[in-house]
Structure formats: structure tokens, C-alpha cells
């Protein structure tokens, strides 16, 4: 070799060997590290790739869901009860914003914010970021169309925002329908867990909280619109990737009549109570609870002050008394006791009894409401004049378990509507029930007072209305509802003997339309007639002492006064509408509930029988 040097220094050969050897060790280390890198890449790009793809899409795409328009709620004459207002708002994307101050500062070029407002929004956004990081936050400020148009035009220069059209629920009769239509508000945590997948993460979503809004939520709510927008790292919009228009919820055609509802609310005035009118087939025309509240206040968050005011009111404006208040039915149960006794052949229509002021069972005194007694009474008279002594005896002969069977068939102690969260079931007791829930045997005295609708019996106004409707329609079971799409057909016959039915109907007729009847003073003098049974249910036990002192109901504090009830139907000749009126602590049935019923039945006849006045 020409470059070969003869003078190889000692150690050079071994030196290159050393370098090669050590170089080889180094190569192994290099290969090892490359192996680590390779496996890291495989880990990231194969095993974790799905996860990272999601994260990358979350960076890149902004998904905006739009609040769907809720279905309109109509009354049975197709007048609007609940509808929606369009509002323009601005949604912002907190996860993209690094400096909120700067953001609001630049936004002030388009929207007038005052400092207090900005501070409020900032606080809310911080809170929002903690729990709903990837969701849009809606600035709770209604914007004009002009502002929205301006922002839309300059959208490529304003990062992190997206104008949106939203819907705000409004109620045409915010006070009159508030209980039965209900209201909407933001879902709470528990409700969010149950909400359907596509409604999840819809900013500013309001859901039905009670009433029809809640019961028919699935139909009314609709499905949200969704658009996907591509953005860059600075939060600027690049393009719309996809857009699905939202679908408005189904309209709800209710059986309610806003004329009647408004009128009934007016008649009730400041009284605490409820009015229900339904057709004898079960179409609920009117369902008022009083006092009431403004449902529109709830849509965008009621103030704490207002809410507390409602809560503190002893007349409980927030509760839907028609469905959820429980009352002893009092004398309004008497026709049911009569039906049960007749159908079970315990007594016949000629069964007579002599009513003095009081009677005695097992050493205990039972009083009639009439101080000097009714004298000799038969069934018709007993119902007409509401003789307590007569029904004590009938109930004693009948027994509570047979009465229970009949009451159950008429729907007492059972839900009237399906899946209405505020509805209460009430109680109709029997011997087994008492053993199970009270833990004591049934006493005969309890049977006796059950005959006049007192004791353990707890019913809701709508149960009483259904009961009387089933007497009015010829003794057929019905399924009352607010949904006019339901088929309102008569069901099973629950009064077998038409003679019994006739007797009861005739008794009710004379109770209103014949002299000495309990609601004679509230009869309709001309035109169509209605009839019904009054009831006065005690909320306290009257002691002998009080009886002797002859304390008047109106002298008692409001809370201890009797409830005033009336259940009835009309027109007498061809019953089509049933009514139940209950005034909390209103005194006797004939003094308070009956006059209200008269007014409302008159309105019913005016509304539905205009052309055929002479029926």
C-alpha cells in the first residue's frame, strides 16, 4: 500500500481495536434507544391513536348545539297557550380563551357591556370552565338583530364567539295555566343524567319541570340543531363543516279551554283552592289551582326574592292543588256510599231512618250537621239534604271493605292521570290497609265516619271530579287526560243497575234544584240546569265543648276552618260536563264551593250550548 507507513507506533493497532469494540457497544446502545423510540411511536400512533384523534378533533372542531324550539301548546280551540320567542344571543367558547379581560375588551367594540356585567360573566365563565369545559357558554344578554348581523359580518376577526338564535318559552296566560302547563328551567344534575344523548351539552337548554311541559317533555322538546365549525388555534372560524337544522318539538293539542280556565281563575280570586271541569268522557277542560304564580318568571331563572315570597305564602301558590292537595271528601262521598250499598244489596231505595240531632254507637255520640235533625229520611232525601245520620247507618251496614271496593272502581285512592309527577294518589282505607300502615285493627267507629267521607280517606280534587263524571255519564269508567289526541271512550260499566243510577242522579238533581236541597241557593234558575253534592270536610275534631259553645266556622283561624267542596255535573237532562270545586278552609260546601260552581257551570253552558239554549 502506498500510504502504508512502516513506522507503526506501538499501540495504534490495539487502539483502533479498542475504538471498534467500544463503538460496537455504543451501537447496541443506539439500537436500544431507537427501539424505545419506535415502541413509543407504535404506542402513540397505533394503540392511543383513537384517543388522540378525538383530542385533535376537539382542538379543531367546534361543535355547537342549538336549543330546539319547543312544541307549541294549544287549547282545544287551537288557541296558543305556550309558545316561543326568538332571541339572539352570543355563545363563547371558554376553553379557547386564554385571557378573559382581553376577550371582553375586544368584544366591547360590538356589544355594550358595563363593568358589573363583565365581572358577572367572568365569574360565571370560571365556574363554567370547571364543570363544562368543552361546552359553549351563552352570554345571558339578549342582543338586537343589528348587533348580531354586525358580529356575523366580522366573524372572521372576532375569535371564540358564535352568534346563535335561541328560543325562550313564553306563556300567554302565565298565571292561569302555570300549574297545569308547568314551566321550563335549566335541568339539574339528576335530570341531566336522564336526558337523551342528543340533548346533552345543548347550551342553555330548558326542560319542562312540571305539569304538561314535564309530562309530555319527550314530544314537546324537539331535537337540537348541530353545526360543526373548523377553527384554528387562535379560535378563528375557518369553515362550517356540517350543519343539521334542529327539529321543532311536536305541538301539543290539549283538551283545555282557555276561556273557561281564565274565567275559573277569576272566579276563584284570592281564595285558595281548585276548580276542575271535565267532560263526562274525561276531556279535562279546566284545571285551575289558586293562588297562582307567574310561569314566565321561571324560564330565565326566578330571583331568590320572588321565589321565597312564593314559598312563604301559606296558601302555597307553587303547589298544584287540583292534582296534589289531599282532602277528606266529606259529604261528596255520600252518593258513592249509597251506590255501594245499593249495588251490594245492603239497602234498597226505600230504606228509611229517623234522624234526630244525634245518634249513638257503642257509647260514642255521632252528630248530624243539622241541629234539630231531618226527621224521617229515605235515600233520596238523605242525599238531597245531606243527612249524616242516614249515612252513618248505611256505612255501618255496608262495612268499609265493600265501600273500598266501590271507591276503587270509581278511581279513589288511585292515580287519575298517567305519569304526572305532581299527582298524588290519596288514600282510601280498608281494614287491611289500616293493619299494614297504621298498625292497628279497624274500629267500627271509623266505618261510621267513613260514611260521610271523613277519617282516613284522602282524595284529590281530580279524583272527585272523575268520580262524579262517572256517575254523570251513566256509570262508565273513564280515563281523564289533557291530551286531545287521546280517544275518550267510555270504559267498563261500574254501576250495574240502571235504577240505582237513576235514583242517585235524581237525588243529586233535587239536592240542587229542589227546595231544601243543600245547594238550592246556588241553582241556575233559567236555561240549562246543573246539579251536584256539597261537602264540608273538617280539618279538626269538634269537641263537645266547642259544640256547646256553638263556635262558628268563620270565627276560627283560617287554617282550622272547614274545607268547602262541591262536585256536580250538568246539564241535568243530558250530563256532559262534570265539575269539582274545592276551597281550602272556605267553610261549608253550600256557602262557598256551590256558588262558585254555579258561576262556572253557567259559563260552561254559555260556552258550549250557545245555539241550543232550550235543551
Amino acid at each position: 500500500m502506498e500510504y502504508f507507513s512502516p513506522k507503526v507506533r506501538k499501540g495504534i493497532e490495539s487502539k483502533s481495536k479498542t475504538i471498534s469494540r467500544r463503538g460496537f457497544v455504543l451501537s447496541i446502545a443506539k439500537a436500544g434507544f431507537f427501539g424505545i423510540i419506535l415502541s413509543r411511536l407504535v404506542y402513540l400512533q397505533l394503540f392511543k391513536s383513537k384517543e388522540f384523534k378525538q383530542l385533535s378533533d376537539r382542538n379543531r372542531y367546534r361543535e355547537i348545539k342549538e336549543v330546539p324550539e319547543r312544541g307549541t301548546i294549544y287549547d282545544f280551540k287551537q288557541r296558543v297557550i305556550a309558545s316561543n320567542n326568538q332571541v339572539y344571543q352570543l355563545s363563547i367558547f371558554p376553553k379557547e380563551i386564554k385571557n378573559l379581560n382581553e376577550f371582553f375588551y375586544s368584544l366591547r367594540n360590538y356589544i355594550n357591556f358595563d363593568v358589573l356585567e363583565i365581572n358577572k360573566f367572568k365569574k360565571e365563565i370560571y365556574r363554567h370552565k370547571k364543570t363544562k369545559k368543552y361546552q359553549a357558554y351563552i352570554i345571558d344578554k339578549k342582543l338586537s338583530w343589528k348587533t348580531i348581523a354586525k358580529i356575523n359580518y366580522n366573524l372572521s376577526d372576532i375569535p371564540h364567539v358564535q352568534p346563535l338564535v335561541s328560543y325562550e318559552r313564553t306563556y300567554s296566560f302565565p298565571e292561569e295555566f302555570s300549574h297545569i302547563i308547568g314551566y321550563v328551567a335549566e335541568p339539574n344534575k339528576k335530570e341531566l343524567k336522564k336526558i337523551s344523548q342528543d340533548l346533552l351539552y345543548v347550551p342553555n337548554l330548558k326542560i319542562g319541570k312540571n305539569g304538561i311541559e314535564k309530562r309530555f317533555e319527550n314530544k314537546i322538546i324537539g331535537s337540537p340543531g348541530k353545526s360543526v365549525i373548523e377553527i384554528d388555534a387562535y379560535g378563528k372560524q375557518l369553515k362550517q363543516v356540517s350543519f343539521n337544522e334542529g327539529i321543532k318539538g311536536n305541538n301539543f293539542y290539549s283538551t283545555l279551554d282557555s276561556d273557561l280556565q281564565v274565567y275559573a281563575k277569576k272566579v276563584l280570586g284570592n281564595d285558595s283552592g281548585s276548580v276542575i271541569v271535565m267532560s263526562t268522557k274525561g276531556e279535562i277542560r279546566c284545571c285551575v289551582s289558586s293562588p297562582s304564580f307567574d310561569a314566565n318568571l321561571f324560564t330565565y331563572g326566578i330571583s331568590n326574592f320572588e321565589f321565597k315570597k312564593y314559598l312563604k305564602n301559606e296558601k302555597k301558590p307553587l303547589s298544584n292543588k287540583s292534582l296534589s292537595s289531599l282532602y277528606p271528601p266529606g259529604s261528596t262521598l255520600k252518593m258513592l256510599v249509597a251506590i255501594s250499598a245499593l249495588e251490594n244489596n245492603i239497602v234498597n231505595k226505600n230504606f228509611k231512618i229517623r234522624c234526630t240531632e244525634s245518634t249513638e254507637y257503642f257509647g260514642q255520640k255521632y252528630h248530624c250537621w243539622k241541629e234539630k235533625g231531618h226527621g224521617v229520611v229515605n235515600m233520596k232525601k238523605a242525599i238531597k239534604e245531606s243527612c249524616d245520620i242516614y249515612f252513618y247507618e248505611v256505612a255501618r251496614l255496608l262495612g268499609v271493605d265493600r265501600l273500598y271496593e266501590t271507591a276503587l272502581r270509581f278511581g279513589l285512592g288511585k292515580y287519575v292521570l298517567e305519569n304526572f309527577i305532581e299527582e298524588k294518589k290519596g288514600v282510601f282505607p280498608n281494614t287491611k290497609w289500616k293493619k299494614k300502615y297504621v298498625g292497628q285493627p279497624w274500629y267500627l267507629g271509623e266505618t261510621i265516619i267513613a260514611g260521610i267521607g271523613q277519617g282516613y280517606i284522602q282524595t284529590t280534587p281530580i279524583q272527585l271530579c272523575k268520580m262524579i263524571a262517572q256517575i254523570a255519564n251513566g256509570g262508565y269508567q273513564i280515563k281523564p287526560s289533557f291530551n286531545s289526541n287521546n280517544q275518550f271512550l267510555l270504559g267498563e260499566k261500574i254501576i250495574q243497575n240502571d235504577e240505582h243510577l237513576k235514583l242517585i242522579q235524581e237525588s243529586l238533581n233535587v239536592a240542587t234544584n229542589e227546595w231544601r236541597g243543600t245547594s238550592y241557593r246556588s241553582r241556575l234558575k233559567s236555561g240549562l240546569k246543573y246539579c251536584g253534592k256539597t261537602g264540608t270536610s273538617q280539618v279538626r275534631k269538634i269537641t263537645q265543648e266547642q259544640r256547646d259553645l256553638n263556635i262558628k266556622n268563620k270565627d276560627l283561624p283560617w287554617k282550622f276552618r272547614d274545607h268547602s267542596l262541591f262536585t256536580g255535573y250538568g246539564p241535568v237532562s243530558n250530563p256532559e260536563y262534570a265539575i269539582s270545586v274545592i276551597i281550602d278552609h272556605g267553610g261549608s260546601g253550600s256557602s262557598k264551593a256551590a256558588p262558585i260552581s254555579k258561576k262556572i257551570m253557567q259559563k260552561v253552558f254559555e260556552l258550549y250550548y250557545q245555539k241550543e239554549k232550550n235543551v
Binding site: M1, Y3, F4, S5, R9, K10, G11, I12, S14, K15, S16, T18, I19, S20, R21, R22, G23, L26, S27, K30, F33, F34, I36, I37, L38, R40, L41, V42, L44, Q45, L46, K48, S49, E51, F52, K53, L55, S56, D57, N59, R60, K98, E230, I231, D232, A233, Y234, L238
Partner: protein, 372 residues
């Protein structure tokens, strides 16, 4: 005259023939890939592709010149070059440009020179030169350790002062690899590592706050997703979301929509991996592996200790670049600002890489040259 000219031409032809075409083709392929990736990132206002292309051309000329110079000349030139870079580092301390909280660059007109990058090669050359004449049996002697350790410590201190911990550690790592190759006794390495471990906690107290932050965020990047950990998180998302075949050319949402910071310099591998997936990444890794392997082969051909050490040093240098860069962008290592050779957009790094490959090629052309 004629015969002399003829001799020069013949000589040049021989040199041209013995140029390492393997390395050159790898170099060109990698350059092409880097241009492709950069053009996918170019938003139009920065002319990244053009500038990078010019740098490739310029560095390639430097490569050819360096390759044609005799390895013996480079041997003689080593200390001078080392001293020159040290001088540049001192100049940086006085006249350096400030960026990202550190003085790292010198403005030399055409581009900003980063002397610490050059030092990565200079230290290899100086050490290789020193060990040319140290006998194997005398290597472990203390008097033979004084000079190499000084050669390492001086630039290390200068670079750490900038402050640039990443590059300083890089220089240290490469220098240690040379010491390893010379056959230095294992005991000395053990002793060195132990003393470093003891010194490490002490040295942490001298770290700048941002450096401490980087180490902390490396340990848990999710602790600060919008701040210091942002780079790594976004980089991992980009690489991972690429999947097996990638999102496709120009379809890398992370790098194209600016979610990935600095996609053209330190994070260019991320941009590549997002667009071309695991498939592309493996090919790219393979190309780099081939390059390193080729340099190792040339190293073994070299007759002189200087040539051998130099080539092994360069190969390790390349390995360290790639390993640290990819380790960093995949979240295996802290973000220390190490570019990937040839691909990353950056003048000095490109020049250093080409210069180093030039030295390797020179060592190949003059493989039989003995150095006295």
C-alpha cells in the same frame, strides 16, 4: 504546466469517485422530505421553503468543500477551529442576539449563527485530535485527562451561561461518547457518573426558573396544559392522531391550524408524523438509521485514530440529535430545544450537519491517510 493541470484534474476525479454517494443520496432524500414537510406548513408569508432550500444549497457546497479537503488538514486545523468557536461563544456573551430569554446567536449578515451548534462538532474534532497520540496504556493517567476535561468544561460553561442547558448537556454527552470510544477505564466513568449525581441537586439550584419549570412539566405535562406543557401535549396529540397511515399530506390539522407550536423547527418531526403516520415515521427513522450506520462503517475504514474517533463522534452526534428530538416531541424527554438534523428549519444546525458529514466524507476519501 499541462501535466500538473492534468494531475489536479485526475486527482479531483479520483476524489469525486470516492465521494460517498450513499451519504449524499440519503442527504438529498432527507432534504427533499424536509422541503415537502415545510411546504405543507408554509402559510405563504414566511417563504420557509425557499429559505430552507437556499440553506441546503449553501450547506451542500460547504459539504463538498469540506469533503475535498484532506483529513490531515482537518487534523491540523482542529484546535484552531475549536479555539475559533470558543472565541465565537465569548463574542456571543458580549454581542449576542437575545431571544427566548437567552443570548445564543451572532448576527453574521446572511443568517444568525449559533456558535453553540458549531461547538458540537468542534469539541469532537479537538478531542479526536488530542487522542491521536495518546497511547492506549497511558489513557487512564491523570495527566492525560487534564486537557480533554478542560476541552469539555470550557464550552460547557460558556454555553450554560447563555443560558442553554439543553445544548450544554448535548455537548457534554457527545464529548463523553468520545472519551468512551478511546477506551477510557470504566472506573473513571463510574466515578464521573457518581460525582455528577451528587452534583445534580446542587446544580438545580443554579437553574433559571424557566428551566426548572421545563423539568417539572416534563414530569407531568398535564399539570399546565396551556402553559409550558402545551407544546408536548399538542405534539403528542398530533403524532398520535396521525395513526398508522397519517392524515395525509397538507391534512395535518394540528400543524396546519397552528395548534402545534414551532412546527417547522424543533417539532418538524411531529408535523411529519401527523401527516404520514407511523408508516412514514418508520421510513424516516430507517433513513436516519442508515445514515448513522453508514458513518459507523466509514469510521471503521479509517486508518487514523483521528479519522475513526471523528466519524464515530459524528455518528453519535447524529444519533443524539435524532434520539433527543424524537424523544422530546413524543414526550419521552423534556423539551430542550434540540433540532433534528437536515430536516429542522435552522441555518446553523443545517450547516453543522453538512459540515460534519463533509468531515466524514473527507475521512472516507482519505481513509488510508496516516497522520503523523
Amino acid at each position: 504546466m499541462y501535466s500538473l493541470n492534468k494531475g489536479i484534474i485526475e486527482n479531483s476525479l479520483i476524489k469525486l469517485k470516492s465521494l460517498d454517494w450513499f451519504i449524499i443520496s440519503l442527504m438529498l432524500i432527507l432534504s427533499a422530505i424536509s422541503l415537502i414537510v415545510l411546504s405543507s406548513l408554509d402559510t405563504g408569508d414566511k417563504n420557509l421553503v425557499e429559505k430552507h432550500f437556499l440553506r441546503i444549497v449553501f450547506s451542500f457546497i460547504v459539504f463538498l468543500i469540506v469533503a475535498s479537503v484532506n483529513i490531515k488538514t482537518w487534523y491540523k486545523f482542529s484546535y484552531f477551529f475549536y479555539a475559533f468557536v470558543i472565541l465565537l461563544l465569548i463574542l456571543v456573551d458580549f454581542y449576542g442576539l437575545v431571544g427566548k430569554g437567552a443570548k445564543r446567536w451572532l448576527d453574521i449578515g446572511i443568517f444568525n449563527l449559533q456558535p453553540s451548534e458549531l461547538m458540537k462538532i468542534a469539541v469532537i474534532m479537538a478531542l479526536a485530535r488530542y487522542y491521536q497520540y495518546v497511547k492506549t496504556d497511558e489513557i487512564d493517567k491523570i495527566r492525560n485527562l487534564v486537557i480533554p476535561i478542560s476541552l469539555i468544561i470550557i464550552p460547557f460553561v460558556l454555553v450554560i451561561k447563555q443560558p442553554d442547558l439543553g445544548t450544554a448537556l448535548f455537548i457534554l454527552l457527545v464529548a463523553i461518547s468520545i472519551l468512551w470510544l478511546t477506551g477510557l477505564n470504566l472506573k473513571i466513568f463510574t466515578f464521573g457518573t457518581l460525582s455528577l449525581l451528587i452534583l445534580a441537586p446542587l446544580s438545580i439550584s443554579f437553574l433559571k426558573p424557566y428551566q426548572k419549570q421545563r423539568i417539572l412539566t416534563f414530569l407531568n405535562p398535564e399539570s399546565d396544559p396551556t402553559g409550558a406543557g402545551y407544546h408536548v401535549i399538542q405534539s403528542k396529540i398530533a403524532i398520535g392522531s396521525g395513526g398508522f397511515f397519517g392524515k395525509g399530506y397538507m391534512e395535518g390539522s394540528q400543524s396546519n391550524l397552528s395548534f402545534l407550536p414551532e412546527p417547522h423547527t424543533d417539532f418538524i418531526f411531529t408535523a411529519f408524523a401527523e401527516q404520514f403516520g407511523l408508516f412514514g415515521s418508520i421510513i424516516l427513522l430507517f433513513l436516519f438509521l442508515l445514515l448513522i450506520y453508514r458513518i459507523d462503517v466509514i469510521s471503521k475504514l479509517s486508518r487514523s485514530t483521528f479519522g475513526r474517533l471523528l466519524c464515530f463522534g459524528v455518528s453519535f452526534n447524529f444519533f443524539a440529535y435524532i434520539a433527543i428530538n424524537i424523544g422530546m416531541v413524543t414526550g419521552l424527554l423534556p423539551v430542550v430545544g434540540v433540532p433534528i438534523p437536515i430536516m429542522s428549519y435552522g441555518g446553523t444546525a443545517m450547516l453543522t450537519s453538512m459540515f460534519a458529514l463533509g468531515l466524514v466524507t473527507s475521512a472516507k476519501i482519505h481513509k488510508d491517510q496516516n497522520i503523523y
